[in-house]
């Protein structure tokens, strides 16, 4: 009897043994860590027999709001649903507007966008694993990830001027160039941590922006080894996640899932490679995939993605040419030619798609956001059916579902 068959057997027994009517409970909407989301879970004994995802507690009407704001003032509010990955959510908006205007950003801007998007992917994944850790009973992972994430956030703040919501991308480039030098205080702060973990010392030559970014990337690459030992290779985690919530390749396709969930099921689909944009075609990196499509694979794919992101950032910062970072300063009432455009990118949680229709005015006629989390909703319902109550947190967290992103 295989492990899987054994599981099936256990499930059958447990449903059979209760002798009580199924119970329907609300899982949420208070959900520390992600934002508000509810699952209406029907349980029989210890087994989940039915799940109905109930999003909408943090619906903000972003799409309606976008019709009332101008093309430029849309950028800061469109990034609000996913402040952790604000570059990811506004990226396709900017690309679609550029398509409508028929412009392409300067080379340097393309690299800066790539660096920013990858830094935010790292920050977002660290946040994900922090909470994944604490929800499966691994408090150290929570503390480590949050500590480390702060240094990534410092770097995004150095480039974009804000820790998380920086409205950095604009049609035709990025808002401002990266600084040439790093403030001494920031280097000192990072050096304190760097010395503590590696026993080595950063010097004044790391005050140069490029050297500093490379040092941060190298440091994190080493940190990921620690994560592997501490969390991904730990018994606590493996026992909670291995062979739990298996999503086969066929089901992944049928349910139309995205991101790490899709790749963990063995489909090597990543917009950065298969539908490349900006600087990605010039960079070399791998797309990690899983084999079994269980909770463990989904986490490991995310873990390996962080390594690839570090590779991308260190390549991009080396290859980044000098020059302007935007075509021109757009007026606040920028006018975009009439037409329709679609753009899709790979955000931290998966494929982000925008459809924009312009009627030639100073504001969009219709903006449609199709965020990755929204496309994971069918998978939540599918995977939790038949699971046990204790398996709800690992399954839910392995999907990297972000309620605010799904609700918009």
């Amino acid at each position: 009897m295989t492990v899987l068959e054994k599981r099936e057997e256990v499930r059958k027994i447990e449903i059979y043994d209760t002798g009580e009517a199924p119970l329907t409970v609300s899982y949420g909407p208070q959900h520390p860590g992600t934002g508000h989301f509810r699952m209406i879970v029907t349980i029989s004994g210890d087994t989940v027999v039915d799940v109905e995802p109930d999003p909408g507690f943090v619906h903000r009407g972003e799409e309606k709001m976008a019709e009332y704001k101008t093309w430029i003032t849309n950028i800061p509010h469109l990034e609000r649903p996913v402040i952790l990955d604000s570059a990811g959510i506004q990226y396709p908006y900017v690309l679609a507007v550029e398509k409508l205007m028929g412009v392409e950003p300067p080379e340097r801007a393309k690299y800066l966008r790539t660096i920013m998007a990858e830094l935010q992917r790292l920050g977002s994944h660290l946040y994900w694993f922090a909470l994944y850790g604490i929800f499966v009973g691994h408090a150290t992972m929570f503390l480590w990830c949050f500590t480390d994430r702060d240094y990534i956030v410092d770097l995004t703040s150095l480039i974009g001027g804000q820790r998380i919501t920086h409205a950095y991308f604009v049609p035709g480039g990025v808002r401002n160039d990266a600084p040439k030098n790093v403030p001494r205080g920031l280097l000192r702060e990072f050096n304190r941590y760097y010395r503590m973990v590696t026993g080595k010392e950063l010097t004044d030559k790391h005050l140069e922006f490029r050297k500093y970014v490379l040092a941060v990337c190298e440091f994190f690459d080493g940190r990921l080894d620690d994560y592997w030992e501490m969390f991904f290779n730990s018994e606590i985690f493996i026992h909670r996640a291995r062979n739990v919530g298996i999503l086969s390749q066929g089901d992944a396709i049928r349910l139309g899932v995205v991101g790490t969930t899709l790749r963990a099921s063995g489909i090597k689909y990543d917009n950065r490679v298969c539908n490349p944009y900006d600087a990605y075609p010039n960079l070399k990196f791998d797309i990690p995939t899983g084999e079994r499509g269980d909770c463990y694979d989904r986490a490991v794919v995310g873990f390996k993605e962080m390594r690839e992101s570090l590779k991308i950032i260190s390549q991009a910062v080396e290859m980044m040419p000098d020059g302007p970072v935007k075509l021109k300063q757009h007026p606040i009432n920028l006018r975009v030619p009439a037409g329709e455009a679609v753009a899709r990118t790979e955000a931290a949680r998966g494929e982000m798609l925008y459809y924009i229709r312009s009627e030639g005015g100073d504001r969009p006629y219709r903006v449609k956001i199709s965020p990755p989390s929204f496309r994971l909703l069918p998978a939540i319902a599918y995977l939790l059916k038949g699971a046990q109550i204790a398996e709800i947190p690992p399954i839910y967290w392995s999907l990297n579902y972000w309620p605010v992103e799904a609700d918009r």
Partner: protein, 160 residues
């Protein structure tokens, strides 16, 4: 099997010449508009013969305030494929128009289960009734919402 989007669009024209109302094929968007009654047949053909196996988004648009005014809603299905790696870089959308006064169309959840939640969203935001949808009810809006569907152009948000 066609691998460029132009060839794919031509293929569709040859198969469903009568049903296709308009066709946009350019770098910005690839959209094939068909009649409301033909969309199921076109969708089935795309899934079974061309490998478009999931829906990335369902966009509805109220055309009543567009430059070319029309008292109709446009419903766009943005399609994707995971099973055909040669089409991963391609975008394809099929669309149809429904009357704004009583918007109804057949649900495509039978063909693409991935559009279940997308159609529910279009239902509550635009009032489009998808026939044969397995679970057509509110998704994001609160239960106490009693105004008209909010993404229609007739709905004015408070304070605007």
């Amino acid at each position: 099997m066609s691998t460029t989007i132009e060839a794919l669009a031509d293929d569709l024209s040859a198969k469903f010449g009568q049903a296709i109302k308009s066709k946009i094929v350019d770098k910005k968007i690839v959209k094939i508009e068909v009649g409301r009654e033909d969309i199921t047949a076109v969708a089935k053909y795309l899934r079974d013969n061309m490998g478009w196996d999931h829906v990335k988004a369902v966009t509805a648009i109220d055309l009543s305030r567009a430059t070319k005014k029309e008292d109709r809603l446009e419903v766009i299905y943005h399609l994707g494929t995971y099973s055909r790696a040669d089409c991963w870089g391609l975008d394809l959308a099929i669309s149809c128009r429904v009357e704004k006064a009583s918007p109804r169309m057949t649900s495509l959840t039978d063909i693409w289960p991935s559009c279940e939640f997308h159609e529910r969203e279009a239902f509550e935001m635009f009032g489009i009734v998808f026939e044969n949808h397995p679970n057509l009810k509110r998704l994001l809006l609160p239960d106490y919402w009693s105004d008209i569907p909010p993404l229609l152009k007739d709905y004015q948000p408070p304070g605007r």
